[in-house]
């Protein structure tokens, strides 16, 4: 900051330095998914641990039940979305130029594919 008194307004000083646009929206989505994931994580770990002592058919039967299936489904959906926006903000902070665009695209594709694969697997166990 210059030592001389300035006639520039605070708005004029920050204008064109970069835009916020969707920043607040993203932060609130992060909080919403965190809030959902805190209990869902505990439920998910509990379910996975209970699956360890079961064989293949036992695991299929357990994950075919409505409550475990729904809890894991909610964990996956909230988790993948949480992961996507979290990774996105890391990329935006640390990668610059064209590499950033590639990284953002790769992130979206990876998270989309992972989420879809998990949902497909769960629905297949539940309904096939």
């Amino acid at each position: 900051m210059s030592e001389r008194p300035s006639f520039r307004t605070p708005l004029g000083r920050v204008r064109w330095l970069g835009s916020a646009h969707t920043g607040a929206d993203e932060a609130m989505r992060m909080r919403l998914t965190s809030l959902a994931l805190a209990p869902l994580t505990i439920a998910f770990v509990w379910i996975v641990l209970s699956l360890l002592s079961k064989d293949y058919n036992g695991v299929r039967a357990e994950l075919g039940e409505p409550l475990p299936a729904l809890l894991v489904l909610m964990f996956v959906l909230a988790g993948v979305y949480h992961m996507a926006i979290g990774m996105r903000s890391v990329i935006v902070d640390y990668i610059h130029g064209v590499a950033r665009e590639w990284a953002l695209t790769a992130n979206d594709l990876f998270c989309g594919a992972l989420g879809l694969a998990c949902v497909y697997a769960l629905l297949r166990i539940g309904f096939v």
Binding site: L37, A38, T41, W46, V48, L49, L52, S53, Y56
Partner: protein
């Protein structure tokens, strides 16, 4: 095939590390909620919260795995 892997030492180790990472990350998120509420940013408390996150994640993981092995 997957069942054989997950019951091996390496599989167990990965699963253990995964639960640890999950719990550590979860407690880090809780810390952010505390900050968002406007608490825990002053000098002694913020360091204590950081240490509580570190220790808490490990303790939660050990508790859950102890229960997991106990009920098996």
């Amino acid at each position: 095939m997957f069942s054989g892997f997950i019951h091996s030492i390496l599989g167990r180790l990965i699963l253990f590390g995964f639960t640890w990472a999950l719990f550590h990350h979860m407690l880090g998120g809780v810390r952010h909620f505390i900050w968002d509420a406007g608490h825990g940013m002053d000098d002694p408390l913020r360091e204590q919260l950081a240490q509580a996150t570190l220790v808490g994640g490990a303790v939660l993981t050990l508790i859950v795995w102890a229960i997991g092995y106990a009920v098996r």
